[in-house]
Amino acid sequence: MRGADYVIRRIGFALLTIFVAITINFFLFRVLPGNVVSDLARVPHATPQLRHALTVEFGLDKPKWQQYVIYVRELLRGNMGVSFATQQPVSHLLLNDLKNTIPMVTVGTLGAIVLGIATGILSAWRRGSAADHVSTNLAIAFYAFPTQFLGLMLLIVLGGLLPTSGMENPYAGVFGPQSSVARLQDIGLHLILPALTLLLTLYGEFTLIMRSSMLETLGEDYVLTARAKGLRDRRVIARHVVRNALLPIATLVALSIGWIVGGAILVEYIFSWPGIGQALWQAVNQRDYPMLQGGFLVLAVSVVGLNLLADLAYFKLDPRISQ
């Protein structure tokens, strides 16, 4: 019963958070200086009629509270609206962007998680050794590098070896034959540099947290007991230390995975990756409210949803919570 209460409370809190996020998203972009109609009407010989037509077309002639009610009502019906800039349905545009973003950010993030945990374990296990120093310093360095700097360096250094922009060779298949396997290979090659940039940017954080958590766990009495029992070092690390040290990593992993759908704006920008990060950046510049609201809604839902999952996982993983 206590467990059910906990789950219901967490779900209720998540839904409330999403509702608050929807409301803030709606008003936040509207209080920013700037005006989508000014942007779109700035064409030669723009007439007051054009500005008026755009204002009415976008529903911006209505009071803000009325716009908000319409937005929430349509959202509950599953309608995210139409982009001001392209006049295409937001849900369709976001889906396309997500399809591009998720593979690249997933590879980069999962790679970072695996590499970060592995190097964190290694550093803690070999604390004070040369391997620890190299691993920890590299992790700090990559953690500190601005993403754009790292991305540009990779772009310049590996430019001749790997594709540096876009997510596929557009010409293959249209001006010549291309098999499905060759297309997948091509996309894979295009994915390497942006995913590698993301991996290198993210992994350091996992390394440092895993190392710290491992060191804390290594000092626990039960580890001493395990060693006193004569268990081999590898067995102690694998069975008793790593499993317990992974607990704080669970939150970080959940947060990182939640951010996957938000894309990686800088990485997408540097490598011209047509994902949701770039789309949101453009939408901000264009004051494309429906696109911004839709994008940030997806982002909010994914982050809150993954946090909820992390909370529920904690409930399962950590008996102290359920007690």
Partner: protein, 558 residues
Amino acid sequence: MRMLRNMIAPPLALALTAGAAVALAACSAAGTGSGSSGGVLHIGTTYPIDSMNPFVAQSDYSYAVYEYIYPQLVQYNGTLGIAPDFARSWSASDGGRTWTFHTVPHAHWSDGKPLTAADVAWTINEVMKYKNGPAGQWAGLLEHMIGASAPNATTLVIKYSTAVANVLEQMQGMSVLPKQVWAPYFTGNGSKLKTYANTPPPNGKPMVSGGPFEMVQYKANQYALFKRNPRWWGPKPKIEGFGLQFFSNADAMVQALKDGQVDFIGEYTPPTAVKALKQAGFVVTTTPSLSMKTFIINTNSHKTTHRELLDPRVREAIEYATDRSQIIKTAWLGLAQSGSTIIAPADGSWHDANVKVLPFDLAKANKLLDAAGFKRGPNGVRIADGHPMSYNVIFPPDERGTGDRTFQIMQADLAKIGISISQQNMDDSATFNAISAPGNKYETFDMAMWDWVPPVDPDFMLSVMTCAQLGNNSDSGYCNPAYDKMYARQSTLIATSARRALIWKMQQYIYDAKPYIILDYPDIIEAHSTKWTGFTVSPVMGSVNSLSTATLLQVHQK
């Protein structure tokens, strides 16, 4: 950068006399080329197609694409004269209020349907119906137009309520749309018109083209691919097709050229890349452009703060303290022309070369401000009406890079005459908001840096300074009824010499009033692989543009 579709073009008299006799520039050039045929040109650009719907699109490359897939009555030639395109000849009658065009006979759309003068009349008349609504972006092309008719398949008659000076230039910006595709959207209140994506499969329908190429694939913000239109009525392009690949940033685009992922990069190649590209063996072309960088000073009489900026002596002093040659040398690495009037020298005879700009002279600037009674305060900044002459300069992201360096040079020089300026960064949308605030009254802003990329015909750039553009295209708050009268008059002068004389007078007028200090006209920089030749540069957008089909008809591998 303010992306403005290129609506219009060059000297009317030239166009009128050339109309019946001049061969299609692109046609003749393509017909005499000697390069090998075939190949697919890979083009890189940092400005993506924003929409394939011409009633939604704003981007330069959207309009460049329309130039290649839809017919226009006329286009520009290499010297910015009007050349025949779908219209082979034309004449004006009834004091310039009736225009008759004779179009190409036996032409077809890519789906096999006939392409006639009736298609042009249908497009014009349908757009007119919706010009105050969803087709509002095209309204400027139809000014004073009453309607169009097609008495037969090769004759188009357009009637105007008054003589219009730039009819041919307006028609250059108007794409002829296939009725069989667009008719279902020109219905009712036109609400469907802007919702049609106009893209090829797999997400759309096969495109119907009336130009030399047809779009075969398009992925938003990624690329667009084009193949020759086998039913095109003009000269066959030498290339098999071309692709536009969109880059988020210029560094990646330059790297893609170096790596061989693209063959050509147009518009907005950064000046800092020129040396490295030349060293790497690429052909780098620079050409003066119509675009201009402006230092804007609020001259609106309703200005409520820092009203000393309304004093002509202050603006004159600021120009004396503007070191244009240093800006071009340092910020542009020499790849820009010195600024003077609101019509760039690249616009040929429309530019008034007689306007003499004030030289860089700090002593004269100081003298002017001393004479105006603005004494220096304890920190060296002058005091005007009890407050320091310290101003925020609104600075949109388009100006980053070269604009930052320009600002630093101006800031240092203005400090020497007792004027302090600081950068106020904001995005484009917020910039216009801040300039026109509150409520399009232009009361509060002091200074800004921005730019223009105007069309070839000077009408648009001249219109920016009219009172009618307050709240629309005006980014200075300038408003003067005497200037407005001149503007209205120039748009009706059919005789080019008379129109030119008035336009020169207007340039001098604005130069003297100094709502803008035109800093420079940046060059268009583009680069391509040595394997390709046949590019025709233009002062707007470079080789691949919305003015002419010349480049992609002529370009070929060596």
